[in-house]
Symmetry: C2
Subunit: 203 residues, 2 copies
């Protein structure tokens, strides 16, 4: 059994959202599972000196246009919250609290958060109660989760995941490792598919 591909995503990124819609099916076509890893780009931005797209002059307007075009091209139900961008720390911490107990539920949670934030309900990913409600619908006990979100151990875990990602060269999201080989961005899904199909030999 080949090793799972690793999929690093951050909740406020539209590019990560679009990739999250496709990555499981893409991997399954090649007999691979996906290890989902929520992370924050904060540590990477410190290393590269970059700012979040939506806080970068010129880039923010372009990015929002680009996400609309991708949504149309892919037929994705998509609506950017008026209050975008949210940092989404409660959602990020919740992912890791759930992931430590049940990774499959953490993936379902991530997908539900993305749907809520980018396409349907205007989910506030900065709001602990709203995030816990999403998890509750997946069978997670919301009061325990709320305590977990505030737990310094979970905050430390989030920091560790971010720093470990940067140490492996990650500087953007979404980020995918296939057998350790890095692929940055939604735009590289076709290249990931080529690699998984054995049609790309360069390293």
């Amino acid at each position: 059994m080949p090793s799972p591909i690793e999929f690093f995503f951050d909740f406020p990124s539209g590019y990560a959202f679009f990739a999250a819609l496709e990555i499981d099916d893409l991997a399954a076509r090649h007999g691979r599972e996906v290890r989902w890893q929520a992370f924050s780009l904060g540590a990477a931005f410190k290393a590269t000196g970059a700012l979040p797209l939506t806080h970068t002059p010129l880039k923010s307007d372009y990015t929002v246009l680009d996400w609309r075009r991708i949504a149309e091209a892919k037929g994705v139900d998509y609506r950017l919250p008026e209050s975008h961008p949210h940092a989404g720390l409660p959602a990020l911490r919740a992912f890791h609290w759930i992931d430590a107990r049940d990774p499959a539920t953490a993936v379902a949670f991530a997908k539900a958060v993305y749907r809520g934030y980018f396409s349907q309900t205007g989910l506030d990913i900065d709001d602990v109660a709203a995030v816990c409600e999403v998890a509750r619908s997946l069978g997670v006990e919301p009061r325990q989760l709320a305590e977990g979100i505030a737990d310094p151990a979970i905050k430390a875990r989030v920091r560790e995941v971010g720093e470990a990602a940067v140490a492996r060269g990650v500087f953007g999201a979404p980020w995918t490792f296939v057998d350790g080989e890095p692929f940055w961005g939604w735009d590289r899904l076709p290249m990931i598919e080529r690699r998984l199909a054995g049609a790309l030999t360069t390293i």
Copy 2:
């Protein structure tokens, strides 16, 4: 006759190189011509606070890997000069000197410079004599071109083109405008094709 699409490129960018190999054919499939515009990202980097890819921690190694993969996927004769990146100011100025006299020859010059830098001869795009030799093979008088490269008016023209691009929201290369709509990157060629085919309505 619809208006030409505008293609902004910088010589040391592998992504612009790969796009330059495709953009004319892509446009022609939809009855469009291409207005080629060499520019330097310096002004854009000032506006966004970004650094050139190859000077950005983490990004430079990834970018070089990514270019190799694109070359393989597209079957492109490709070799990165060991001395990469060159700033390529002489090539940039030469483009604009030629462009002011004969835009078609300027495009041929740009393609020859790309081939020389990224695939064949290890062309030094920082070397005035080497750049003039490329132009000579296209019928440009090399001594006049060398004088043009040193002309303050050409330097001013290069600065104007860069500043005008930034004023229109350009922050990276390659950059394509289709009827004024912006597309950033080699990865957006398929989206440009959708737009030209009338299969993309979002703006």
